[in-house]
Amino acid sequence: MPPRKTFHIVLATVGFAAFSAPATRAQEGPYFVTYNHYLEEPGNLEIEYSSTFGTQRGGNEFHAYWMEFEYGVKAWWTTEFYLDGQTTFGDSTIFTGIRWENRVRPLKREHLINPVLYVEYASIKGADKILKEVEGHDAEADFAPSNGTLSKEHNHEIETKLILSGTFKGWNISQNTIAAKDFSNAPWEFAYAIGVSRPLALKARANRCSLCPQNFAAGVEMYGGLGDSESFGLHDTSHYLAPVLVWNLPSDWALRISPGFGLNDNSHRFLLRWGVSREISGFGPMIGKLFGRRQ
C-alpha cells in the first residue's frame, strides 16, 4: 500500500475513532510540565489540545498551543507526537514545529520510586513559546523579539529526562531531571521539574458522577533551568511555580488548568495553561483490524 494512502487511512481512523470510541474514562494527572511514571494504556490513543498564555515584558503577550497525540505502544512504552504553534498579539500566528517523544518504564513492577526514561526529538523554531520545558538559561527576554526574527532560528534538539515518580497514600510526587542538546555546537542544557498532586477523594462513589471529588486531582509543580554544561547553576535561569488542577470526566474527556507564576526577574510574570483531552480506547487494535490483523 502506498505510504500516502496508509497515512490517509490512519488519519481517517483517528477522526472516526474520536467520535465512535467506547467510553472509558481518562485518568489524567494534573501536570503540564512534570511527568509522572504513569504511561498510556497499551492500544489507547489520547488526543490533547493545550494552550499557554504568557505575559511578556519588552514585547507582546502571546498565546502558544500544541496538539498532542499520545499512544500506548506497550504497557511499558508510550510514544507521543506534538504539533506546536503560537500567536503573538500584534504580530502574527505561526506554526513552530514538531516533537516526538518516547517514554519507557524499565522496571516491570511498581516500586516506591519508579524510574521512567524519556527521549525526545524536537524540530522547532526559535519562536516556539509553549514553554513545556524551561531549560538552560532560558529567560523571558528571549521571547521579546518579533516572530519574524525568532523564526530565523531553527533548532534540532534531542532532549532526555530521567523521571522519578511514586505514589503514597494517594499523593504523587514526581521529579524530572532534564538534559537537552541542540544538534549544533551548543552545550548541553539542564533543567528540572517537580510536581506533587493528589485526587480530591480517594474512594470511588457507587454511581457515575461528573462533579464528585474523585474526578478531580489538584497539586502544584515547580520547574526551571539549571544552566548548561559551560555554566551550570541557577544564575541567569528562570523558574516557575504553578498550581494544577485536572477534571477527569466520566465521558472520557479531561480538562486541565494551571496558572503559573514566575519566581524571578528572568521569568515571565504569569503563564496561564489549559488543556482538553480525549482518550480513544482500543485505537491500536482498531487500526490492526483495518489491516486484517485478527484479535
Binding site: Q27, A75, E110, L202, A204, A206, G282, R293
Partner: protein, 141 residues
C-alpha cells in the same frame, strides 16, 4: 525517504503487521492462557496476606462495577468474560485467588504481557475493583 512513513507507522503500530501477527496468533499454544493466570502466583506472601479494607463496605461492589466499566471492560469484556486483549476474570484461578493477590496484580500490572499497572487509581478504588471482581464468582454468569 518514501520508506520513512511506513517504517515509522509499523514501528509505532505493530498491530498493522497482519501476516506476522496472524501467524503468531495461530501458533499460540493453549498453555499461554495458563501462563497469564500464573502471574497471580507471583504475588508475594505479604501482598496476599493483605486484608481488603472495603470487605464489609456495602457500596464497594457497586463502586467497583463503575470503575470496572470505566477502566477494565475494554480489555476484559463487558461481563469480565474475557475479550481479545484481556483474559476472563470469572475463571477459577481469579475467583479462588486471595483478594490481596488480585490487588497486587492491579497495582503492578502484567506489564510485559500488556496489562498496565493501575496504581494511578488510589488504593480504595483498587480495593473496590477487587470487591467487584470477587463478586463475579458469587452469582451465575
Amino acid at each position: 525517504m518514501r520508506l520513512v512513513l511506513p517504517i515509522l507507522i509499523l514501528f509505532v503500530f505493530p498491530e498493522i503487521a497482519p501476516q506476522v501477527g496472524a501467524q503468531d496468533h495461530a501458533n499460540q499454544k493453549p498453555t499461554k492462557r495458563t501462563t497469564i493466570y500464573d502471574e497471580i502466583a507471583q504475588a508475594p506472601a505479604k501482598a496476599r496476606a493483605k486484608r481488603n479494607p472495603l470487605e464489609s463496605d456495602p457500596d464497594a461492589i457497586a463502586a467497583g462495577r463503575v470503575l470496572f466499566e470505566q477502566h477494565c471492560q475494554e480489555c476484559h469484556g463487558r461481563s469480565a468474560e474475557g475479550a481479545g486483549r484481556g483474559p476472563s476474570l470469572r475463571v477459577e484461578e481469579i475467583q479462588t485467588a486471595e483478594p490481596g493477590a488480585i490487588f497486587w496484580i492491579l497495582s503492578n500490572g502484567v506489564v510485559r504481557r500488556g496489562m498496565p499497572n493501575w496504581s494511578k487509581l488510589p488504593e480504595p478504588q483498587r480495593w473496590a475493583l477487587v470487591c467487584f471482581i470477587k463478586s463475579l464468582g458469587k452469582k451465575p454468569s
